[in-house]
Symmetry: C2
Subunit: 383 residues, 2 copies
């Protein structure tokens, strides 16, 4: 596994991070451009809040954990300043997208903009010690918990025919928030919440398929509707390493074992044995999924698998993890990594042809790639 | 062109209509199954209101214009009974999807469910003469006009940074509603409204590209954002034949000429000269579109082009229309038509491989294929 350390360092520090440093700063209106084409040219100056916040998180994380480089903190502060000024509506909700100047463009009936803004705030708090970041993060956390408890506050009508009432995304992201809030919340509160979130993620586990289902109804797994049969292998894989982190923090070997089992289950189910790569969406019973893009290969399930497998290997030294890691690594570096212009492409069709000549867009920014590389480096250094 | 008459008759009456007659009826809870796989097996018993209403429209249209077959009227009435019982919420809004029994599952912040329910009602009124259908259609039409005038009533917040304020879909579908309301509304009202809707559709015309843009801002065409650059060639093509019908009804040779020009412009821009087929979404300037499924080939842009070209040829006898028709027809019959199990497949990747082995889903039902075939037959019979 050790051969990968240099590859990942080189990719992160000489290709990925420089790509964003060079191309993403809007020095006139603030914030970052994230819609960047193959060579880094801006093709859309909208500011997507998920990606603004995630880039703040990323650069603050580099500053906090790799090296106290002033340029990294400056980059994070540049995005944070824009978010502080423009991300929230008067009612406290966090927008999904803003125009270049920061005027609100759209808001989702979901709480993920709030979640990503929160992790930007916690990391900036760690970087600067400025208390207003911590305070705003805690305020947002309370708002997010309100949304989890009363989803109707998000504005989507709760209708009696809809059975997909429990989504994997919620406890998963919540588990990640708790990790990011470490040291900012009362220890006991954090542990209680983490324990509940772990149970909720695990309740999505399907023992027959060996992975996590996206949607449950009140009774649990249901198979008679596409919502119930929906599998997002990348999500299931990402949930595994969120669980591995939580198991590490709390010292829970059973949770670790479940996560490692689900990781292999997700890879086995999600891997396209004919054309290679991890599918985006699948149906548990092999029916046609609703999503038109279901059989596409996206960069992020591969980055999440890459890191999850590095972590899994570091914990168990099992050859199975090593073999899967090599398969995923080779696919990702073959199809997504751009040695010429930096960063990764994001979107391939089933057969690995690029469908979009872009490095960033409305959902791809400076996040999954550098996070997976940084976290993998951290683990590989300890090996 | 005449060779196609028999092909279309055979496809419509021996393959497409029988597929729905045989597989779509839910005789227990009412309404239609539309999620049918390759061989017609139900893989999702949700009832999507767009498709329920469109199938009612289709069978009532066959009954009204082809032959007074009791089975066709019965099929239409079967769906209408379910819609009458379950489609609307107490506030009058029409749901997007219902569960098998008719419980509301989801509602869109768009008015298209209302529009398709309306055309089901008008066609049932023509079939039966029962006045309650006409009355409900006119009530819905008023509601739709309210939504058009005050889009905030649909529940999507109007935010100042969003410039894509005029969508082609609105005047296009409105033009189609007016066609379906012929004889049910006051003649003068209808003509005034039609004239305004024609102008609005034409305001989307981009003379440089020769086709209709999806979104305009207050000033018209804008090119600095993906919303403004968005091209949906199938939409642009469908708008052309809506305009051709309106031009025919009102006797407007200039509108006819514009529509014919846009039709060719849309085809030239939308055709994939490398891999064949009409793209789903494009960017006017060649940037990466936001939609992951942008380079896929869907059945409906091809059915709409097929009929638009038959109609165009009947009006002008120009070889250009004949040549394009043959190209589209061959692509569609090669990639989408299933001679073995009936109906058409719906979704191919850029290279024409089926991505979904289905005949119906949440957006594909008994509508675009049989409508294009029926309308083409009607025109070819007059040739």
């Amino acid at each position: 596994m050790k051969q990968y350390l240099e590859i990942y360092r080189k990719n992160l520090f000489e290709s990925v991070i420089p790509f964003w440093e060079k191309n993403s700063v809007d020095s006139e209106y603030g914030g970052y451009y994230t819609c960047l084409d193959e060579i880094g040219r801006v093709y859309d100056d909208s500011k997507f809040v998920w990606l603004q916040a995630r880039q703040v998180w990323m650069f603050a994380k580099l500053y906090n954990t790799v090296e106290k480089k002033a340029a990294w903190l400056e980059m994070a502060a540049h995005g944070m300043q824009f978010l502080k000024k423009s991300a929230r509506l008067p009612d406290g909700r966090v927008c999904f997208s803003l125009d270049r100047e920061g005027q609100p463009k759209s808001i989702q009936r979901k709480m993920f903009s709030e979640c990503f803004f929160l992790i930007a705030l916690t990391e900036m708090y760690r970087a600067t010690g400025e208390d207003h970041y911590r305070e705003e993060a805690i305020g947002l956390f309370k708002l997010i918990e309100e949304f989890i408890n009363k989803p109707e506050l998000l504005g989507r009508p709760i209708l009696p025919g809809n059975r997909a009432v429990r989504s994997l995304a919620i406890p998963m992201i919540y588990l990640n928030l708790l990790e990011e809030l470490e040291g900012l919340l009362d220890e006991k509160d954090l542990r209680n919440r983490r324990s509940q979130a772990i149970s909720e993620v695990l309740s999505h586990y399907d023992p027959d398929l060996g992975l996590f289902r996206e949607n449950l109804d009140e009774e649990g797994i249901f198979d008679d509707l596409p919502e119930g049969r929906l599998i997002n292998p990348g999500h299931s894989i990402e949930a595994c390493w969120f669980l591995l982190h939580a198991a590490q923090i709390e010292g829970l070997p059973d949770v670790q074992a479940s996560a490692l089992e689900s990781l292999i289950g997700s890879l086995e189910f999600g891997w396209d044995s004919e054309a290679d790569g991890i599918y985006y969406f699948m149906d548990a019973k092999g029916n046609p999924p609703r999503q038109l893009e279901c059989n596409m290969k996206l960069w992020w399930p591969h980055t999440e698998a890459m890191y999850a497998l590095v972590l899994a290997y570091s914990l168990k030294k099992d050859r199975l993890f090593e073999e899967w890691h090599s398969k995923i690594h080779n696919y990702a570096f073959d199809r997504f990594v751009d040695e010429e212009h930096g960063e990764w492409f994001g979107y391939c069709d089933r057969y690995g042809n690029h469908t979009h000549q872009l490095k960033g867009g409305d959902y791809k920014g400076c996040f999954h790639v550098p996070r997976a590389l940084l976290y993998s480096i951290r683990v590989l250094e300890q090996l």
